[in-house]
C-alpha cells in the first residue's frame, strides 16, 4: 500500500511545504544555502546529514523560530513570511523534548489544546486518546522528572501530536534513546504516522534510521541539499561521493574513463590489472575524465580460486582483517596499491569447510551493475 505512495513523481501534485531558494545566515556564517525543497502531504520525510549541516536551522525556519534571510517558505500554498510560531499549523518535537517541568504529563499534553480554547471535555478526550496512542495512560499524573528517557520521549511526541498539526517536525526524535529502544520506536513512529495520516519531517544524522523510516530522504551537506530520493535510490544511486560514503559503507576506486562499449563504461584504475566494466548508463562522461567507482561491500564477492577469463572486474589482494558480526562476516582486503576494500558476505550456512583465513591471497569480483560511477 505504501509502495504506490509517490506524489513527488506526479507533476500535477501540489506540495504541502515548499521551501523556495531559502538562505539563512547567522552573521557571516551560512547555515542554509539556497535550498529548495518540496514536501508532500502524508509524507514521512527525513532530513539526513552530518552534524552542523543546517538541519535544525531548516526545521526552526519551518516552525517559525527563525526567519529566512532570503527566499520563501510556503505551507499549503500560503506564504509563512512573518507568521509567528504560535500561528502556524505546525508542531515540533524538540531534540531536548522541552517538557514543562512544572506540569504533569496530562497538563503537558493538554497545553496546546488549551491555547485553542477547546471545551474542557474535548481536551480531556483528546489527552486520553494521545495517552493511549503512546501507551502512557498509567503515568498521566506524573511529572517529567519522574519519567525515564523513553517515557519523556513519548510525552513529547504526544504533546506535539495532540493538536493534530498539518505537519509534525521531529528534531532527532530518537537521539537520546539507547539502541534497542531506538529501533522499536522507529517502527512505532512509522505506525503512528500512518495511522494519523500526518506529514512528518524528521531530522536525523543516523542514516539507518532515515533508511528505515522515510518515504523520501533529503541528504544535506553544508546547508545545501545534495540529493532527494527514496531510501533505495539514495543507497543504490547516490549522486555524489559524499552521499555514497555517508549512507552505508562503500568502496571507492578512483580511475579515468576510457570509453563506452555496448553501453558499458570502461574505466582504467590503478587497483585492477584490466580496465573495469561498469553498467551505469545514465552518467554522461567523456574519455579521460577522472571518476570514482563506488561499490557496496555486499555487492562484492570474495573467492580463493582465480576466476575464469570470462570474469569482469577482478581485483587481487590479501585478507587483512576478518570481522564476524553473526549475520554477516566483513573481510578487509588489502590490494597491491595499498587500498583496503570491505567485502561482506552473508553467513547463509552455519558450517563452512575451510573458511577463508587471515593473510590468504584472494580474488574480489563484482558485476558491472553492482557499481555506480561518480563524476569527481
Amino acid at each position: 500500500m505504501r509502495r504506490t505512495f509517490a506524489p513527488w513523481a506526479d507533476p500535477q501534485a501540489k506540495p504541502l511545504i515548499r521551501v523556495d531558494n531559502v538562505t539563512k545566515r547567522f552573521g557571516d556564517a551560512v547555515a542554509v544555502d539556497h535550498l529548495t525543497l518540496d514536501i508532500f502531504e502524508g509524507e514521512f520525510f527525513c532530513l539526513l546529514g552530518p552534524s552542523g549541516c543546517g538541519k535544525t536551522t531548516l526545521m526552526r525556519m519551518l516552525a517559525g523560530f527563525e526567519y529566512p534571510t532570503e527566499g520563501v517558505i510556503t505551507l499549503a500554498g500560503q506564504s509563512l513570511e512573518g507568521v509567528p510560531p504560535y500561528r502556524r499549523p505546525v508542531n515540533m518535537m524538540f531534540q531536548s523534548y522541552a517538557l514543562f517541568p512544572h506540569m504533569s504529563v496530562e497538563k503537558n499534553i493538554a497545553f496546546g489544546l488549551k491555547q485553542d480554547g477547546l471545551p474542557k471535555p474535548e481536551i480531556a478526550d483528546r489527552v486520553g486518546e494521545m495517552l493511549r496512542l503512546v501507551q502512557l495512560e498509567k503515568l498521566a499524573k506524573r511529572y517529567p522528572s519522574q519519567l525515564s528517557g523513553g517515557q519523556r520521549q513519548r510525552v513529547a511526541l504526544a504533546r506535539a501530536l495532540a493538536k493534530r498539526p498539518k505537519v509534525l517536525l521531529l528534531d532527532e526524535p530518537l537521539g537520546a534513546l539507547d539502541k534497542k529502544l531506538r529501533e522499536e520506536t522507529q517502527f512505532e513512529l512509522m505506525d503512528i504516522q500512518h495511522e494519523l495520516g500526518m506529514t512528518f519531517v524528521v531530522v536525523t544524522h543516523d542514516q539507518e534510521e532515515a533508511m528505515t523510516m522515510a518515504d523520501r530522504i533529503a541528504v544535506m551537506d553544508h546547508g545545501r541539499i545534495v540529493q532527494v530520493a527514496d531510501p533505495g535510490e539514495i543507497y543504490e544511486q547516490p549522486k555524489t561521493r559524499f552521499i555514497a560514503e555517508f549512507v552505508g559503507d562503500v568502496n571507492i576506486l578512483e580511475g579515468h574513463v576510457m570509453g563506452q562499449e555496448n553501453g558499458l563504461w570502461r574505466v582504467k584504475t590503478a587497483s585492477a590489472e584490466t580496465p573495469l566494466t561498469i553498467d551505469d548508463p545514465d552518467e554522461v562522461l567523456h574519455s579521460g575524465q577522472a571518476v570514482a567507482i563506488a561499490v557496496r561491500p555486499e555487492k562484492m564477492t570474495i573467492q580463493r580460486e582465480k576466476p575464469g577469463p570470462e570474469a569482469v572486474n577482478v581485483l587481487t589482494g590479501e585478507v587483512w582483517d576478518i570481522g564476524y558480526l553473526g549475520d554477516w562476516t566483513v573481510y578487509r582486503i588489502k590490494l597491491a596499491t595499498g587500498e583496503i576494500l570491505r567485502v561482506s558476505r552473508a553467513n547463509v550456512s552455519r558450517f563452512v569447510e575451510s573458511p577463508i583465513d587471515w593473510d590468504e591471497q584472494v580474488y574480489v569480483t563484482f558485476e558491472p551493475g553492482a557499481a555506480v560511477i561518480l563524476a569527481e
Binding site: 517559525g64 524538540f94 514543562f100 517541568p101 522528572s145 493538536k163
Partner: protein, 301 residues
C-alpha cells in the same frame, strides 16, 4: 592513619555545627536577652529595667517577669496601626520591587553571556557606598527645590514644586531603590537557569509570547520570586532609616515606634516587646515559604 581519620570525623562533625554556633551566639542569645527585657518592668535606673538577673534569687527573678508590656501593646491601638501600616508599606514596596526587578533580572538573564557577570557586579555596585549616605542623597533629589523638581520643570512637565519628600511615596522610592539588588539577584539566578526551549515549545503549541510568560516563565521563576520577595519584605517591615529620613512625621512604621520607645521614652521593656512582636509578624511568612517549598519538593523529587 588513625589520627587523621579522627581529625576527619571531628571536622565532619564540626562543619554542620558552624551555622548553629553562629546563630546561637548572634541570634539566640540576644533574642533571649530581649525576650527577658520585654517581660521586665521599666525602672529609672542603669540599666533601665527590673529585675536584674541574679543567681542567688532565681525564683524571685522569674516571678517578677510578666506580660504587662504586651498587654500595653494591645491596649494602645498606636502599635496595632503602626504594625498594619508597616506591613502595608512593606507589601506595596515588595510589589513595586517585583515590578521593577523582574524586567531587570529578565533582561540580565537574556543578555549575552559575556555581559552577565558585569551586569551582576553593577547591580551590587551601590553597596560600595554607605546605605545611609545614599538615602540622604534622596533627600536632595526629592525635596521641593530638589533635583527632581528642577529636572521636571526644566523639561516643562510641571510648574510647581512637587511634594514627595515626607510622604509615603518617598518611602516607597527609598525602599525600592535600596532593596532592588535583593530582589534582582534571586530572580536573576532562577531566570538564568531557565531553558529557552521551554518558551519555544510553548509558542510552538500556540501560546502567544504574553501567555507563555505567565504560564511558563512566571511559574518556573516562582522560587526566585518568593525568595526575592521575602528578602525584601522582611527587612522592609522593620525598616527605620528610610521612613525616618524620607517619610516625615506622618509615616507610621513599627521600626520607628521601636526606636522612639527605646531612645526617646527610654522604655526598654516596651521597646523589647515591640521587637518581639515584629519577630512574630515576620516568622509567619518564613513558615509559609518553607511550607510551600516543602510541598513543591514533595511533588517533584
Amino acid at each position: 592513619m588513625k589520627e587523621r581519620s579522627f581529625m576527619k570525623s571531628l571536622s565532619a562533625g564540626l562543619v554542620p555545627a558552624v551555622p548553629y554556633l553562629w546563630l546561637g551566639v548572634f541570634f539566640l542569645v540576644p533574642f533571649l536577652i530581649v525576650l527577658k527585657i520585654s517581660l521586665s518592668d521599666p525602672a529609672v535606673a542603669q540599666p533601665p529595667y527590673r529585675p536584674l538577673f541574679e543567681w542567688s534569687d532565681i525564683m524571685g527573678f522569674f516571678s517578677a517577669l510578666d506580660f504587662e508590656n504586651f498587654e500595653l501593646l494591645t491596649q494602645d491601638d498606636l502599635y496595632f496601626r503602626a504594625t498594619l501600616s508597616s506591613v502595608r508599606i512593606a507589601a506595596i514596596s515588595t510589589l513595586l520591587l517585583l515590578l521593577v526587578g523582574f524586567p531587570i533580572a529578565y533582561g540580565m538573564a537574556r543578555a549575552p553571556e559575556r555581559h552577565r557577570s558585569l551586569l551582576v557586579a553593577l547591580v551590587i555596585l551601590p553597596f560600595w557606598t554607605s546605605f545611609l549616605i545614599r538615602i540622604y542623597a534622596w533627600i536632595a533629589i526629592l525635596k521641593p527645590e530638589g533635583l527632581l523638581t528642577q529636572a521636571l520643570s526644566g523639561i516643562g512637565l510641571i510648574s510647581e514644586p512637587i511634594e514627595i519628600l515626607n510622604t509615603e511615596w518617598a518611602v516607597y522610592i527609598g525602599i525600592v531603590y535600596a532593596y532592588l539588588p535583593f530582589m534582582v539577584l534571586p530572580l536573576y539566578a532562577t531566570l538564568e537557569k531557565m531553558d529557552d526551549t521551554l518558551l519555544e515549545a510553548a509558542l510552538d503549541l500556540g501560546s502567544t509570547p504574553w501567555r507563555s510568560f505567565w504560564t511558563i516563565t512566571v511559574p518556573l521563576a516562582m522560587p526566585g520570586i518568593i525568595a526575592g520577595s521575602l528578602l525584601c519584605f522582611i527587612p522592609a517591615v522593620g525598616e527605620f532609616v528610610i521612613p525616618d529620613l524620607l517619610g516625615g512625621s506622618e509615616t507610621l512604621m513599627i521600626g520607628r515606634q521601636l526606636w522612639s520607645e527605646f531612645f526617646s521614652n527610654r522604655d526598654w521593656p516596651l521597646a523589647s516587646s515591640v521587637a518581639i512582636l515584629l519577630l512574630i509578624i515576620l516568622v509567619l511568612p518564613i513558615v509559609i515559604y518553607r511550607d510551600v517549598e516543602a510541598r513543591r519538593l514533595e511533588t517533584r523529587p
